[in-house]
Every structure is written in structure tokens, then in C-alpha cells.
Symmetry: C2
Amino acid sequence: METAGGYENQYRVPVPPSKPFLKSLQTSLKEAFFPDDPFRQFKNQPTRRKLLLGLQYFIPVLEWAPRYTFHFFKADLIAGITIASLAVPQGISYASLASIPPIIGLYSSFVPPLIYAMFGSSRDLAVGTVAVVSLLMSSMLGKVVSPTGNPKQYVQLVFTATFFAGLLQASLGILRLGFLVDFLSHATIVGFMGGAATIVCLQQLKGMLGLVHFTRETDLVSVLRSVFGQIHKWRWESAVLGCCFLFFLLLTRYFSKRKAALFWINAMAPLTSVILGSLVVYLTHAEKHGVQVIGNLKKGLNPPSVSDLAFRSPHLMTAIKTGIITGIIGLAEGIAVGRTFAMFKNYHIDGNKEMIAFGMMNIAGSCTSCYLTAGPFSRTAVNFNAGSRSLVSNIVMATAVMLTLLFLTPLFHYTPLVVLSSIIISAVLGLLDYEAVIHLWKIDKFDFYVCLAAYLGVVLGSIEIGLSIAISVSMLRIILFVARPRTAVLGNIPNSGIYRSMDQYTIANNVPGILILQIDAPVYFANASYLRERISRWIYEEEDRLKSAGETSLQYVILDLSAVASIDTSGISMLEQLMKNVDRKGLQLALANPRSEVMKKLDKSNLIDKIGKGWIFLTVGEAVSACNFMLHTCKSTRVAVEHNAQDSNV
Amino acid sequence: METAGGYENQYRVPVPPSKPFLKSLQTSLKEAFFPDDPFRQFKNQPTRRKLLLGLQYFIPVLEWAPRYTFHFFKADLIAGITIASLAVPQGISYASLASIPPIIGLYSSFVPPLIYAMFGSSRDLAVGTVAVVSLLMSSMLGKVVSPTGNPKQYVQLVFTATFFAGLLQASLGILRLGFLVDFLSHATIVGFMGGAATIVCLQQLKGMLGLVHFTRETDLVSVLRSVFGQIHKWRWESAVLGCCFLFFLLLTRYFSKRKAALFWINAMAPLTSVILGSLVVYLTHAEKHGVQVIGNLKKGLNPPSVSDLAFRSPHLMTAIKTGIITGIIGLAEGIAVGRTFAMFKNYHIDGNKEMIAFGMMNIAGSCTSCYLTAGPFSRTAVNFNAGSRSLVSNIVMATAVMLTLLFLTPLFHYTPLVVLSSIIISAVLGLLDYEAVIHLWKIDKFDFYVCLAAYLGVVLGSIEIGLSIAISVSMLRIILFVARPRTAVLGNIPNSGIYRSMDQYTIANNVPGILILQIDAPVYFANASYLRERISRWIYEEEDRLKSAGETSLQYVILDLSAVASIDTSGISMLEQLMKNVDRKGLQLALANPRSEVMKKLDKSNLIDKIGKGWIFLTVGEAVSACNFMLHTCKSTRVAVEHNAQDSNV
């Protein structure tokens, strides 16, 4: 059958010429790993220029530094000092969250920002330590080595984990596997961050209540048991001081939120709290009445820590695992933050390049007594609002931190831990993004449940459990989409040759004697059997409907393959079986708009000839015209077929 | 913007009315778990009839037994005796493969076929033990308990594993999770079975060469080392006998393959070999010259084995794991075989019902000294060719095996093990399906590599490794499809309002000033960033092309969403960002044919209003008409927009 029984097809669906396997592999690899075509700018350039462009590609500072002006510097200086005033108290606070000496938190705000300023491609990102990652470090590493019992070994593990996090980040970037980060969906991140913020706040009850012993577990039940199990040890001095500062910090946050120009109130509040708190303790000698203070901080810059990387430790696997998880979370947050602010200023961020920058900064950090850093949202927002123009603001911040390390550390001696707790709480409360949760609920219930699963997993189980639950549920959705694709019956939109889903378009009408089905996903092994069953059901349901309505019996089944972008061998067998089934019922199968890959495989499996070239159409409209033509002019030719059909139905 | 700048849309894309969440959940659950609508026949029936139909649904024998005739029985009798002659030697052989006493192999051909005859929905399936599953049992359970050192405990573990396999199979059926079996793609099964056949053959070198000690590992390297490490222990008597019988069996197989009517030659050959082999040994007393024989077999029917189920064994987890893996493989083969033969006779097999039948038969089997049974392809093919009409042939086979158990077991005393090895080899050689491999290579290279990975994994690693590699690679393909969906530029097919991919249709032409992009997959978190980057690249590539060709500059970007069946919140944000980007470049975004779910979410997120209702079209053709209308009649209105664009590009 070259043509459908006398009907001459108006358009031909071509079989694509077969490409050599290597060529098509190359094309798909390029599409998969270089969707942004980074080599574009190198085309048709002299070799010297290519070299320069290559250097600029890997070290973006070379690209923008020559264009840097004094005008920009003034803006960056203000922004840099602003974020430094945030970086110092946050660095100390988050270090306590990671159960490491506070000085390491300061070290971590010195070297990494300098490295990022060289390699980063964002203009607004403010580098620093991250609350969630800090907590994750302490909860994962604290399980194998006690931070209080064996502080030296614990700190070594922290550096080692940081090293592996950096290594992972850099490798992901170099291997262009950045898309792996995309598998952490927005819903997952919202739920996960919310859960992490909740447990971080709960952990701060230790500092707020002045407790000395506290559980190492992070789940709700353990923490509450730990808090209420030692009511008699609560210290009211600590609690009062903490609540005052928390109230102060939340108040400043509230004002800053109402007016963007008041961002500096929020930015300066932590440092103000630290200074006020230290003064209060110094003057009242509260450290002798149950208010714990930081104590001595060593003066001086970051000591090298290459020899502390514990590659031979028996806990190396734990360090690697911690590095992988914290590294990915750091990346996910950092890249999302970078992209958000890049959108405001309309420039582009290259995810893979960012990963390399993050990786370099953490590898360098792990060798200079820093722990894991990323691009926290809060600090970046302050940087942005303070009017930063480039990464020079990070350099200014690093310089300010350096000066602090060299001269000002003794001033933190009397800083009460409870102020640090208040700072942490007020910072992570911003991670409880209830508006995003409402948005998820409104738009996509499934995403909402993913988010909820992540939140509950983190709060009731552990950070790792929450993360793995959320990722599995998200993946399940993708798998389910492919395993159970939708099929829809199409009908004619009146006064047109257009065919659309009858569910969606209530005005669409059935075409007598013809069933038009649309398949909404690639046909793969995972859904081939399902589709066969579902399509059979559509056919007998339509036959039943026509019979009970006393209409023309079914003669043609048209499959609209517009949305079938891909097919595998199981899919091809499914089509073959379907054709046989349809044939046996005395019906004729027609295909509409098969895509290039489907045509290629139909051709290779000789299925085109079995279906008949004339039964493959460019559009559903044409397929219907052909079927109608046959129905009305060639009724006699179908008698034999129907006779056969009756035979096989007996 | 209600209409696109003066252009009146011809068709409206409706926003589907929002359904209550529970209602839509119910619909999707029904689609996911009951695609074949099994309740259809119950509709509008009186209660009594409903009960009868329900019983018949769960116990299909009630449905077909009343219609059974003597005419059918004659056919089934012949088929039943034929498969019994295959079942007895195969039962004994496969039991040796599973390292259990040969009598259990016979037991397993008695009870399970009777149970399956009641619950099964296939008419042609011949129940029996399976080579691959037998080997898997011995390789997995043999690792924790030695079959020779502690035979009693080993057999208990085998029964326990069988019990859990049955439990899993029945639960999958009852929970309607049958689709999980579909995740074993055809390519995976071909590679896996080929690999298993290879290692089963290699294992038989033990029997063929009369070796007493042999490795428990199944991989190529270990087996070859074991074989060539003890060359001095090879027994030529055994080898000669084995090769003769193997030659005989392969010869009969060759003849049967050439002519379907000669199927009985192949079916009778194993029994003939057993009889001949036993006679030779009995007459020559070869058992005293290095030819190992079966020895004593107990007379009598299956003893109960409920008390042997070792639920308190320390190796319970291994038994459960073995049960899960063997159960799934048994199911996958059994259902595929059932479906294949059902297609020949044009009846339908309900996968979930089959699973319940398999489960019942294995649970019952594990309580009556049987090990795992399924529906092997070879035996079913013989049954089919012998003209079976119903599952009564299984009952006949079971009766014949019963008679053997009661009276004929002593006859197997002198049966040489080497004959069993020949029977196994000739049976599993049929699993090396090189034609299917060539088919895979021709049609889908990716499927071919999946198949190869499964084969190499099994042969070089272990059965479990092969299986998990193949499944992961298959899943990776699905994930990659979703993570890296194709996008294509559409062009106009001359003399029509049809737009198709310019790659596929070389006759398609660009539309001046308009870029039409098609997205080929649902937009999910896993691909949202990729799509944003890829679409941006399409836009700047088109702008470059137009600039260098000196054509009309780009004004409109039309997204054809026909193939976007689903979208999540990340996808919605992606569209929102894309709209902003396009806007910033001074271009206008239009959407064509958004599907019902996309429209719903566009509406809920207020994105419809942001894009403008007038910029959402039913077809690409109409979108292009609207853009052209604007381009030619309203040029002046765009000047302002372009001006803005220049500003923001600076």
C-alpha cells in the first residue's frame, strides 16, 4: 500500500538520512554537555586572541579587571565594609554551629573570598560560611569523632571534608556535570532549607538556655528531650540576654525588609549585638554567672593546614561522604543565589564555571585552615543592596577580616555565646520560606508534597534522610511520568482542520468512524506495555460507545505521534503488536506526524512497509481527510476486511 | 494585552476548570494502577452476577472449566504427556544446577502446575523450574550456607527464598505494581539471559569433565581457573559420554527448529537421553569408572515443608534478597512468555493476575518441598506446538510426574550426571538469542549497549551485578531524556500553514523575524535550567545568523508547547525568567498549543496575564499569522520597545 487506498498524500514524511554512529554520538554529547556552546567566542579568532580568551574564560578576573574604574571601587568599598561587619560575627557564630574553634570561622572569611574574586563569574556573590553546611559538618563528622573529646582530630576531619567538597565541586565543573545540581529541585531545596533552619534554631536552645551538655542528634525528638530533660540546668541570665538580642535583631530585620534602603540596619545589627553583648558581659562580669563567653582568640592570619588533611584517617570515608553532601548543598545554594542576582542585573552565569570557582576556593581553603564556604543568600543580598559593582567587594571584605585577625581578636574575649545563638537564629529564620511553600501548594501539589517530605525528613529524621527522601520522590515523579504517559482522544475544533484533546477543548467534536489518539511521552520499555493496554482500552471503549449510541462503527485508528520525541526497540515492538491487534479487529492504523527519530526506527525495523507508507501523514488533519475519503468513496473495498474481522472475533 | 496588538485570536485556548484535588488524585491513581479497567465487566450487573464474576476474576478456572469439552481434553492429554517427558529430566537437571537433591526438582513439577491451572490466565504456559533462577539460588544462597557441608540448612533456605519470592509476586499483583516488571526492558532481558546461559554452560563443565571440586563463583575468570587448574582430574569417560549426548540433543533441536511439526523429537530427546544414558551406565558399570550417577531417589509424593521455612535463620535476609531477585526474574520471564503466546492465539493476559497466580503457586510450592517455578519459554513452546488447548495440559503433566514420583524413581538410579549437564547445556543454548542482539544493534544502538552491559556484567561479574548495571543504564536513559530534552527550530512547510522541525523537513522555510522553537519533553526541575540556557542559545544564534545574512532582525519568539505534557513549579519559573529575558532583548514571546496541565499552571501562577492572553495561540500557524500581522501593520508600535531594548543592552 503506497497510498491509503487511492488517496494521494499531500505531504510526505521523510525518513531522515542515517548518520554515522560516531557523528550522531558527537552531536548528542555536545548537546548534553555543552548546551551553552562555550566555544562560540573562539570561532574565527587568531591563535593569540584564542589564548587570551581561554585564560579569561578560566580566570574571569582577567576579563573584567582591565575595565575596572575608581568609580566602581567606591561602591565596592562601601559594600565590602558592610558585608565584613556581617562576616565577622557570622563567621564566629557558624563556626560554633560546626563545633569548631571560632577563629576558623574568621579564617574562612579571609582566603576563600580572595580566590573566588579571581575565578568567580558572578558580580554580586558574597562568599562566606553557610549555616546549614556548618550544622551538617558537625552532625555528620561528630558521629565518628567527638569535637569536645578529640578536637584536633575533629578539626582535621573538617578540613579533609572541605578538601573533598572542593575536589567534587571542581570536578563537576570540569567534567561539565553541573546538571546534576539541577536534580535538587526548587521544592526540595525549599523544604530542605526550611527543615535545616528549624533544627538549627532548635540547636540554639543550647546556647540560649546556657546548657553545657547537649545531644549530638539533630532530630526534633532528641533535641526536645535533651532540652526538657535538664530543666533544672537552664540559666535565666543567658535566656534573658539571648531573648533581648534576638528581639533586637528581628526588629532590625523587620525594618530592613520594609525598606530596601535601610539594608544597613540589618547588616550592622549583628556586629552591634556582638559589641553590646561583649560590653554588657565585661561590665557586669556575667561570665561568672552562667553566661558562657568565647574566650581567648589567637591573633594572626590563617596558618597553613595542608599537613592536617587526614587522608590516612580511619574516618576518611565519613569525611568524603560529608564532603560530597556538603559540597553539593553548597553548590546548589551558591549557584541558585548567583543566578538570582545575575537575573536582576541581566548578565549570565555559567554554572560549570561557578563550580570550578567554588571548588578552587574550597580546595585552597582546606589548605589554609578554612572550612567549607559558599555563597549564602543573606550576605549576597546585603552585598547587592549595598551597591556592590563587582567581586572587589569580596576583596574588601577579606581585607577587613584580615585586619580583624591581625589586631582585633582580643576584643571578642567577652562576647557571650548567647549573642552568637541569637545571630544564628535571626539569620536562619529567613530560610523558612513560607511564601514559597504557599506558592508550591497553589501551583503544583506534587511539588508541595516533595517539599513537605524534605522538611519532615530533616526535622524528624536527619538532614541526610530528608535530602534523600526528597530526591527520591522527585525522581519518582519523572519515572512515573515516563511509565504512565497520558493518552488523549482528539476531536475536531469546529470550522478548522485542527484536532485537539477533547478533554481540554470542550468544543471539539468526534469524527465519525475514526478514533484519534495522542501519546504524550516517548515510548520506552518502561511504558510500552502500559501504552499497549491503554490504547486497546481506548479502542474498545470507543467501540462500546459507538455501539450503544448506534453510530457508525469504528474503522480507523489514528495515532498522533507529535509528542513522541523518542522511541526504543520495546516501543517499536509495541507499535508492531498494536498494528497486528488493530488489523485483527478489522481496523486500519494510521500515524500522524512521526518525529525524525521515530521515522528512522520505523524505517530500520521495516515497520513503515508493514503499516504502509500511505498511512503515515504529516498532520492529523490530513490523516482524517484520507480516512474520510476512504470511508465515503471506497466502502466496498472494506467489506472483505470486515468479513475477516468477524472471523477472528468468533 | 488581551489580544496581540490588534490581532484578534481566532481560537481561544481554554484554562481547564480546576478539579478538586481528591478527584484529580483519584483519576490519576486509576490511570496509574488500573489502566486496563478491570472493573468494566462489573458495571450494571446484578449483585449475584457480580459475585460470580468476582470469583471468576480471581480464580479463572471457574470461568473456563464449564466450557471445557472432551475434544479439548484429547489435545491437552497429548500436550501434557509431551511436556511431562521434558519436565522429568529437566526437573532433575535444574535441581542439580540449584545444588539441591534431584527429587526436589521432580516435586516442583507436581504441585505448582496444579495451583497455576487454577489461578493462571494464560492458556499455554507450561509451569516448571527455570535454569537461570536455579543457578541464581545456588550462587546467592551458596555464599552463606554450603550445599554440600550443610545440605539440610541449605534446602531450608531454598524453601524460604521460594516463599518470599511467592509472597513478593503475589503482593506485586495484589497491589497492582506489575508495571515494575516493565522496567526490565527487552534489551536487558536478552543480555541478562544470554549472560546467564553462558555461565550456566560454563558451570556444566564440572559435570562434563567429571570434576568433583568446583568453584562457587559464577564469573568467567573463576570458572576457567577452576576448570584449567585441575586438568589432571578431567575424566575422559565422562567427557565422551557428555559430548555424545550433547551432540544428539543439539541434532534433535536442529531438526525441530527446521520443522514445527517435528517438535516432539526435541521434546522427547531429553527423556531418551536419560533412558539411554542410564542403560549405558547400567550395562557398562561406568559408575565405577568415574561417571557420576544420581543414585537413590526416594519414592513418594512431596512431603510438607512448612516447618522447614527458616524464618528465624540468621541468613533470613539473604533468603529474602534471593527471593526478591529470583521472584522478579521468574515473573519477568513468565509474563513475557505468557504474553508472547497469548498474542499468537489472540487473547489477553492480565499481568497483575498472572503475578498473583505465580505468587500463589510459589507460596504453595514452598510449603510442599518445591523450589521456585515459573513459565520457562522452552517448555511453553513445546506445549504450544503439541497443540495444548488449556491449562489442563499442566494438570496432565502434574499427574504424569506424580506417577513417576510414586513408581518410577528407582529407574533414575543409574542416570549419569553428565547426561543432565548435556540436557542443561542444550536447553540454555536457546537463551543465547543472537538474532535479537542483531535486531537491537540495527534499530537502537543504545539498547544494544544496555544488552551488552547486562551480558558482560553477568559473565564477568555476577548475575546481580549484570542485572543492576543493565537496570541502571536503562534508567539513566529515561533520566537523560528528561534532563536533556530536544529543542528544535520549526519552519514553514511551503504552501501550508504547517510548521515542522527544519532538521527533519529540509523543505521547511524560516519565517522572517520570527523564531519558532519546539520543546520535546515535560518541563521539570531536572531540565528547567538546561532549557533556559538552550533557548537563550537558540535566540542568540538566530540573531547572529540574521545579522550576518543581513535579514530582518528577530522580533518574535514562539514556543510550541505541543509536546510539553506536564510542567512543575521549576518549569513555570523557567518560563517566567525566559519571558523576562526575551522582553529585555526587546522581543515578544508567544506560546502555541499549551496543553491542559500547562494552561492550568500558567493560570495559577498568573503567568498568563504576564505573557498576555492574546499571545497564547491554539496553533503555531495562528501565532505566526498574528506576529506577521503585527510586523507588517503595526511597525510603529514596536519602536518604543526596541528603544528600551537598546537601553538595557548597554
